[in-house]
């Protein structure tokens, strides 16, 4: 990880004429005012995006965001200010504002800087320059052509492709000095198919912490095009979804958004320290059937939700949240871990230098079980088989969560039969996993397009799961009959 720190020094500190002694001075100035701890978060982020529709690449944009956030912590209080100019006077001004929070606390001083080594899950390459612009345009055109040649009913194809190259450097008053260079690419396809005046949509996509070549390898991008068309054509045949509580079988991969909403947010350390989560104070209790083991793992190579270090400089890890149905742990950042008397789990994340870090998920998934997926479907007399989803939402206090299916089928007499229109599913986080009666052996992670929102901050995340049978989940269709 020396490498990342060197890159960060060269990209962020050196151009601004800042050295380690300046970091000392800025943090020292915050600490001088009875603050327990303080940190600086430097970020330089370059990003681009391209859009194709009507068969042509019609728009592209490029941007640079850079700045530094200064945080001062005194007990449970946080003072925060930031500057989009990385220069010493601006840093000193921001530190002066951030320390305004402290009226009590221990006198502190900066510890000697110690480079912290993180994981090495992705190369520090620049995805923006991983392919030349002509090839980017050709790739998007190939995706458009692939979608259109699948079926004459395809009337609209939109392809968007984007990448980010982000360099961050964290300096904490405990002496932590850590850096990360984070590539991220994403490609999305959405199509509209039309048949006898009826229009339906389908969408697909993927990405990860790598370069654009990811989309060329294994013809991944063309695969997204075919998948988006397949979904749209299925939806052209879909009937109204049923309404009411029934057995639901969730497919593998992206339907893991269930775990993200139903239990993930409720197990974030801030909510549990404050006692505002439906899972507060329930460590050691049964919250799922014994077939369920769920982890949050920030250490999977090249995944969208992975990080070498979190945004507080802590190396990411794999944290067991639920083991054989028993609640084992929460996800923590430094502030909430410290106040709860535990260690950070490397889940301290922030959208940018202009936002405060908080406990966030990375890649959240359930481990594989023993059942063949076909055996699971065969076991259901009447129910819903949902394989693709849009987003979800949770009220962490009441525990109620929703997630919306975009591709689903009826199960009748153990067989997948007719497609039904998308519907929102609703359940109660603390008990939904207790109703998991069969866990498949087909664990899959999502394709790499997930974004999680919390208190107005967006961060990239991943989800995954094997096929699951849930005995009783409410399906919000229109067909109440």
């Amino acid at each position: 990880m020396e490498n990342a720190i060197e890159i960060a020094r060269n990209r962020i500190l050196t151009p601004a004429g800042l050295g380690d002694d300046d970091l000392d001075a800025v943090i020292g100035r915050v600490l001088g005012h009875a603050v327990d701890s303080a940190d600086l978060y430097f970020q330089v982020s370059r990003h681009e995006s391209w859009l194709l529709e009507d068969g042509i690449v019609k728009d592209g944009s490029y941007g640079i965001d850079q700045g530094v956030g200064v945080r001062a912590i005194s007990g449970e209080k946080t003072g925060f200010a930031y500057s989009d100019e990385i220069v010493l006077p601006a840093l000193l001004q921001a530190s002066q504002a951030a320390r305004a929070i402290a009226d009590a606390g221990q006198q502190g001083r900066v510890q000697a800087w110690q480079a912290r080594v993180g994981n090495a899950l992705y190369a520090p390459a620049d995805p923006l320059t991983s392919m030349d612009a002509t090839d980017k345009v050709h790739l998007m055109q190939a995706v458009d052509a692939e979608a259109r040649k699948q079926d004459a009913r395809v009337k609209q194809v939109m392809v968007s492709m984007a990448s980010t190259h982000e360099v961050i450097l964290v300096a904490n008053s405990d002496g932590t000095l850590a850096a990360d260079v984070r590539p991220l690419v994403r490609l999305n396809v959405s199509v509209i198919a039309e048949q006898q005046g009826r229009r339906e949509q389908g969408s697909s996509g993927g990405g990860g912490r790598t370069g654009y070549e990811f989309f060329v390898d294994q013809e991944r991008a063309l695969g997204y095009a075919r998948e988006a068309v397949r979904q749209a054509l299925v939806n052209l045949e879909a009937e109204p979804a049923p309404a009411g509580t029934m057995t639901v079988v969730l497919g593998p991969g992206w339907p893991g958004v269930l775990l993200h909403e139903a239990i993930g947010h409720g197990l974030e350390g801030d909510f549990n320290r404050k006692g505002t989560s439906a899972f507060s104070g329930r460590l050691g209790e049964r919250v799922a059937s014994e077939q369920c083991t769920v982890v949050d793992d920030g250490t999977i190579a090249q995944r969208r939700g992975s990080l070498n270090i979190d945004d507080e400089g802590t190396p990411t890890q794999s944290t067991v949240l639920i083991e054989n149905g028993i609640l084992k742990g929460y996800m923590q950042d430094r502030l909430n871990a410290g106040l709860s008397g535990v260690a950070s789990t490397g889940n301290g994340r922030r959208e940018s230098f202009a936002h405060l870090p908080m406990p966030r998920m990375t890649n959240t998934y359930m481990l594989a079980g023993q059942y063949d997926p076909q055996e699971i479907i065969s076991s259901v007399e009447r129910g819903l088989y949902a394989v693709n989803f849009g987003g979800g939402q949770v009220d962490i206090t009441s525990g109620k969560f929703v997630f919306s299916a975009s591709e689903a089928y009826l199960i009748e007499n153990g067989k997948v039969t007719r497609p039904v229109k998308g519907a929102t599913l609703i359940g109660n986080g603390p008990d939904v996993l207790t109703r998991v009666s069969m866990v498949g052996n087909d664990l899959a992670l999502d394709a790499g397009v997930g974004t999680c929102g919390k208190e107005g901050q967006s961060v990239p995340v991943g989800v995954g799961q094997p096929t699951l049978r849930i005995d009783g989940l409410t399906v919000g269709g229109t067909n109440a009959g």
């Binding site: 305004a100 509209i192 998308g422 109440a480």
Partner: protein
């Protein structure tokens, strides 16, 4: 602490001239690089936000954000770039990046600036800027008072996510190669509170907020706290409902979302992509004939007011829906050209949209409904604009004989939006005035409720 903090916020606020000069520099740079036309926007914002939780300060944040964005056209090819750095070298690099992208994008017949004769001529003063001379100490005291009222409202209020006060002043300038260069400043202040109630094993959380351009127009902080607590307590001991069909009232604070869906469905981007269930509905009946929806961009002090849109086009007052018939779409110049129409001055969205209300308040609407569901919260993104399908999680109250019986949760409500609009029965007089879209509570004849 306040002196340094305050001077930080104040000293940093630039003059309108500074932003206009910068915008002109960007346009000159684009012209120098051979762009046939160009447009640029520059913005600055600064603010303060505090949260007090369980009586103690939790966060004190100072915000200060700069932005600069440019779009260049080489004939019908387009490229865009943005930066937060206002230095001369950053301006050069950003314009160069946009020009570089335009070498690779395709000719697009519809690309370009809005027509020159549509640019606003005299920028009206809409009274949008009311800076609040708020010290961090004063903000903390307000937030503390707000939360304290909520905490002492009822013994069942046992926990809190805090009382918050937010104050922001921003300035935005837009210019393009037609020679248009204009800008204005605006403020937004808010007080909010979110608290948690417990009864037996069940916990519920709810919130309330007040927002205004002028802090003098905010609800008193204590009233915000009390409303948040009242809304939380009334949700305790919620039950589920059996699956059934029933009339539904969307309470005013979420009814605005139903109108927002209507606006989204008539936006140019969705129409030219044929991705809307309201495609080809111009001049057609989409609501009952008594429904009127009006856009009023020039209301003094209103949160959604704007003298011109994101392309410099003069905004104007208009009926979006008259006697239930859709009178116009929500277009910017690009989508208008795609549809062979004229921009409606809505680049960036609508400005102060409201639905004409009836004479019944919420109590009156509940009586009119008799038996049905009052929805006070919706969850999730189960909205499909292509086919109009609507299916969302919901919480609220079961109503019988026109009276609230008990709180309900863990249910969904579903229907098709085209159908929901046609089956609108009444609009309440209890208009939520806080946002860009204003509505009273909406009574809809029937939806499917999924529950037990």
């Amino acid at each position: 602490m306040s002196d340094t903090a305050q001077s930080l916020a104040k000293s940093a606020f630039p003059q309108l001239d500074t932003l206009q000069n910068l915008t002109a520099d960007v346009l000159a740079e684009a012209k120098g690089r051979g762009a046939s036309s160009a447009e640029a926007g520059v913005s600055f914002g600064a603010g303060l936000s505090v949260t007090v939780r369980m009586g103690e300060v939790e966060t004190l944040e100072f915000n200060r954000d700069r932005g600069l964005a440019v779009t260049v056209y080489f004939g019908q090819r387009k490229g865009s770039a943005s930066t937060s750095d206002w230095s001369a070298s950053a301006v050069r690099e950003t314009v160069a990046a946009a020009c570089d992208i335009a070498r690779f994008t395709a000719e697009d017949d519809c690309a370009g600036l809005a027509d020159a004769d549509l640019m606003v001529r005299d920028i009206p003063d809409l009274d949008l800027c009311h800076p609040w001379d708020l010290t961090p100490e004063a903000a903390i005291e307000l937030a503390r008072g707000c939360e304290a009222q909520a905490l002492q409202f009822d013994p069942r209020i046992v926990n809190s996510e805090g009382g918050s006060v937010f104050s922001h002043q921003g300035m935005t300038v837009y210019g393009n190669s037609h020679g248009f260069l204009g800008g204005y400043a605006g403020t937004r202040h808010s007080i909010s509170c979110s608290v948690i109630g417990r009864h037996g094993d069940g916990m519920q959380r709810d919130y309330w907020y007040s927002a205004a351009r002028d802090h003098a127009d905010l609800e008193p902080a204590e009233a915000v706290g009390r409303t948040a607590a009242e809304r939380t307590v009334r949700r305790l001991d919620a039950r589920r409902l059996p699956t059934r069909q029933a009339p539904v009232i969307f309470a005013a604070e979420i009814a605005t979302g139903i109108l927002a869906h209507m606006v989204s469905a008539v936006r140019g981007g969705k129409l030219y992509r044929k991705a809307s269930f309201l495609l080809d509905h111009l001049g057609k009946q989409i609501f009952p004939e008594w429904v009127q929806v009006r856009e009023q961009p020039h209301l003094n002090k209103a949160l959604g007011s704007a003298p011109f849109d994101n392309e410099g086009v003069a905004t104007r007052e208009r009926d979006l829906v008259r006697d239930g018939i859709l009178q116009g779409y929500v277009l910017d110049s690009y989508s208008a050209r795609k549809l062979a129409m004229q921009t409606t001055g809505n680049a960036g969205g609508v400005h102060n949209l409201s639905i004409a209300c009836g004479d019944k308040d919420l109590v009156g609407l509940l009586r009119e409904m008799g038996t049905g569901l009052l929805v006070t919260e919706v969850m999730g993104q189960g909205i499909n604009y292509v086919n109009g399908d609507y299916s969302r999680g919901a919480a609220g109250f079961w109503v019988e004989g026109g009276e609230i019986q008990y709180p309900v949760e863990e249910i969904t409500i579903a229907g098709n939006m085209a159908d929901m609009f046609r089956k609108l029965v009444a609009v309440g007089s209890d208009v939520d005035q806080r946002g860009n879209i204003r509505s009273g509570s909406l009574l809809i004849e029937q939806m499917t409720i999924a529950g037990e």
